[in-house]
């Protein structure tokens, strides 16, 4: 059990999903006490690989050895038994059970006496784990339902740690964590390393990955394309490996001053949503990109929803000046020429089992309507074809269903269907969340084009660099209130923003 020995070796691993070859001949090792990063574009097979290690999927061919022994987990429980734990990408707690029970869910047998579970012991054990690993303690007796995303993630993390793992797998968990909890997580990873344990981290954030890991493995199209030593590599080198060509480093705006017209497009006054936001007032101008940033529970996402009429305001007003109209519902907002791209693409924006045509035409139905409410099939098809071509969406036809498209293409449709319209106001909530570098750059170019056309954009984002890179003005939020407004030509740096966020 010395440091430096391989804890896990993966050799010639292949995984197929139907016709898709998701993992191609993967060779991959993790050493004891090593913090390993795994990175790649969407669809490159990272999550598939990690899921096989965690026992969620079984591999089709190849082999894995754990501590020199053959390792072929049939279920996550098998993996747990071998002291491998995973925190999954999607939300993974059971809302109908208390937080404390969630930590030991599936393993309550160990607290069972004469057939009955001793809940007191369960809670005590859960409490111990949160204290031991310095995680923020949630109310353990309360149902997990209704807890914040971040708290739920912490419960998941506690669950993974409760098996005292030799190898911890973290799949994209930092994106839902606030700054201070990220720091806690980094501390925890360091602590594990100190104990001679190994961690495998997946994240889209290249800089973060370089910062926290020892080595990085890069995947492309399901295969390993490179390995790098975190201390020696650069973000550009990793990105180049990911996309297979060199990326121009700068895809944000290059100008250093705000650049928008005088005309006010949107006025928000004293907007309040109970329990979410308070006293939010701002103006948005023609051709302006107004950034909103803050911790995940600061209310930035609520601002987007509220402006688009999706929340009931307890006070205040939202006025679309370009249409001279107060907006109270999403229906009214849509009619004025506003657009809202929500954060969660698959569950809040797209109909994934419906066709490309159905998805693209959805926001434009009112415009496409002819006499006697007639929606001519030809018109719908024409619009769809135009959009598919304009945004070079890779599809086999307008009637193909969305679930057959890759993440990047879905996001192009998600955004493109709005840009097809005569748009005045665009509300974007984390538009580049979970898309790869190539699509990201493309989305920024679309935003720049929209800006040029005079569209007013509200850009809400968890990623500070993104808002700093794109916005004319920046609103920093904390606890549901705007704490600071910074112009692009003022003190437009991460430090000044973070100061106001925390």
């Amino acid at each position: 059990m010395t440091d430096g020995a391989n804890i896990l070796e993966v050799k010639g691993l292949n995984k197929y999903f139907g016709p898709t070859h998701a993992n191609v001949d993967i060779d991959f090792t993790i050493k004891r006490g090593e913090i390993k990063g795994l990175i790649g574009e969407n669809g490159s097979g990272k999550s598939t690989l990690i899921s096989q290690i965690a026992g969620i999927y079984r591999y089709d061919s190849g082999s894995m050895t754990l501590n020199g022994e053959p390792y072929a987990p049939h279920s996550p429980k098998d993996a747990n038994r071998e002291k491998i734990a995973m925190v999954m990408q999607e939300l993974g707690v059971v809302g109908t059970l208390p937080a404390g029970v969630n930590v030991f869910l599936g393993r309550t047998q160990q607290f069972t006496k004469a057939g009955f579970v001793n809940l007191k012991e369960v809670y005590a054990a859960a409490e111990k784990i949160f204290t031991q690993w310095d995680l923020p303690m949630p109310p353990l007796h309360q149902l997990a339902e209704g807890m914040m995303v971040e708290t739920r993630k912490m419960i998941e993390l506690a669950r993974a740690l409760s098996i005292d793992p030799d190898l911890l797998l973290l799949d994209e968990i930092t994106q839902s964590l606030s700054m201070n909890n990220r720091d806690r997580l980094y501390g925890l990873i360091g602590k594990l390393k100190g104990m001679g344990r190994s961690v495998l981290v997946i994240t889209h954030d290249v800089d973060e990955l370089i910062e926290i890991t020892d080595t990085i493995t890069v995947l492309r199209d399901g295969a390993v394309v490179g390995e790098a030593d975190s201390r020696r590599t650069t973000a550009d080198e990793i990105k180049r490996m990911m996309v297979g060509r060199s990326m121009s480093g700068e895809y944000y705006r290059e100008d250093q001053a705000p650049d928008y017209r005088e005309k006010v497009m949107l006025t928000v006054r004293d907007m309040a949503v109970p329990g979410e936001i308070e006293d939010v007032s701002f103006e948005l101008h023609e051709g302006e990109i107004l950034g909103f940033c803050g911790l995940s529970d600061s209310g930035i996402h609520s601002v987007g929803k509220a402006v688009y009429g999706l929340s009931r305001l307890s006070s205040g007003s939202v006025r679309m000046e370009y249409a001279d109209k107060d907006v109270k519902t999403a229906e009214q907002a849509l009619a004025t020429g506003a657009a809202y791209v929500p954060k969660d693409r698959d569950s809040e924006a797209l109909m994934i089992h419906a066709s490309v045509l159905d998805n693209i035409c959805l926001p434009s139905v009112e415009e496409l309507e002819g006499k006697v409410m007639y929606l001519a099939p030809g018109k719908l098809r024409a619009l769809t074809n135009e959009m598919v071509e304009k945004f070079s969406v890779r599809t086999t036809g307008v009637h193909q269903t969305m679930d057959a498209l890759s993440g990047g293409n879905k996001q192009k449709i998600n955004l493109g269907r709005w840009l097809a319209k005569d748009l005045k106001l665009l509300i974007l909530d984390c538009p580049t969340r979970g898309v790869d570098v190539g699509v990201k750059a493309y989305i920024y170019s679309l935003m720049k084009e929209a800006k040029k056309n005079g569209i007013a954009t509200l850009l809400i984002s968890d990623e500070l660099t993104e808002v700093l890179g794109m916005a004319d003005r920046l609103m920093v939020m904390k606890d549901g209130r705007i704490t600071k407004v910074i112009r692009r030509d003022e003190n437009f740096t991460e430090q000044s923003v973070i100061g106001a966020m925390i």
Binding site: N80, G92, V94, R107, F116, V117, E145
Partner: protein, 306 residues
């Protein structure tokens, strides 16, 4: 505390409305013995709902279970009656769960199909010349003890104790609720979906079997129901569970169920004493009840409702 006070007030109000007859001992005894079998059905529904299923065929199962209770009870006494009801409940509900778990058909619609099949079997039994006299004979009076007060109440308390422990204090109970809360996560945590669902089938089956046994003991004979009228049998338990779900905020749902059963049956007894005809306006008021509970249960609910 508040809830208890409210419930006491409700009963006092009933007492006044009924002109002082409601809280008399024999009236209470009637109401209580009436509530026992729907309570067991309602507990069964609690487990079903906990894992996200609905089973519309339970009424049909109770009818067949009651047949078995009556016929086997008359042949072999108590052992026959108990085992007959339990066996039928267990087997049929278990079959239902096999179908729900493996077919992927939404449970409520599969349940409707199964209800049709069970109703048809009941009719076939009734039309069979050898079986007809058997099911049309009243259940022997001396083995019907558990249908009447106070034995039914004792059964109710025993049931309450056991069901409460299973739901709240066993691994299988926790797993059932986990699966209902988030199937994917539960699966990833090594909770076997199929195994748990089959356990739910088992537990629900036993509860439904007990309900059938009590029903037959209480009524002595069961009529055949056709044209999906057996589905009506779950509406009262359904109303009970819906009300219990509202009270869940204050009282554990398993304990809330018999309380709600008692309230709802009191209301119906009251309606009858007030001269509201059953078969017509009582049904209408049950409908209003269900809808009102449905509305209250959804107050402040923000998610998608289908």
């Amino acid at each position: 505390m508040l809830v208890v006070a409210v419930i006491v007030c409700i009963f006092l109000a009933f007492h006044l409305i009924s002109g002082g007859t409601f809280l008399q001992m024999d009236n209470l005894a009637i109401v209580i013995s009436h509530t026992v079998y729907p309570t067991f059905m309602a507990w069964g529904l609690c487990f079903l709902f906990a894992c996200g299923y609905t089973d519309m065929s339970i009424g049909g199962v109770v009818v067949l279970g009651s047949f078995a209770t009556g016929v086997l009870g008359n042949m072999y006494g108590y052992p026959g009656a108990v085992l007959g009801g339990l066996a039928v409940g267990l087997i049929l509900v278990f079959i239902n769960f096999l179908i729900f778990a493996f077919s992927g058909i939404p449970s409520w619609i599969a349940g409707i199909s199964l209800a049709m099949i069970y109703e048809a079997i009941a009719v076939a039994v009734k039309l069979n010349p050898t079986l007809k006299p058997l099911i049309e004979t009243d259940m022997n009076q001396n083995i019907r003890l558990f249908g009447s007060f106070p034995w039914s109440l004792i059964l109710l308390f025993i049931g309450l104790f056991i069901v409460y422990l299973i739901y709240n204090r066993t691994t299988i109970g926790l797993n059932i609720r986990a699966i209902g809360g988030n199937q994917q996560v539960s699966k990833a945590l090594g909770i076997s979906l199929i195994r748990t669902l089959l356990f739910v089938g088992l537990i629900t089956g036993i509860l439904i079997g007990v309900a059938a046994f009590i029903q037959e003991s209480y009524a002595g004979q069961t009529t055949v129901k056709t044209g999906l009228t057996s589905m009506y049998m779950i509406f009262q338990p359904l109303a009970i569970v819906l009300l219990a779900q509202i009270l869940q905020r204050w009282i554990n749902i398993i304990i809330a169920v018999p309380i709600c059963a008692f309230i709802i049956y009191s209301v119906f007894t009251l309606l009858t004493t007030m001269g509201v005809p059953s078969g017509t306006l009582q049904e209408a008021s049950l409908c209003v009840f269900l809808i009102v509970f449905g509305i209250i249960g959804r107050f402040g609910y923000k998610g998608v409702v289908k």
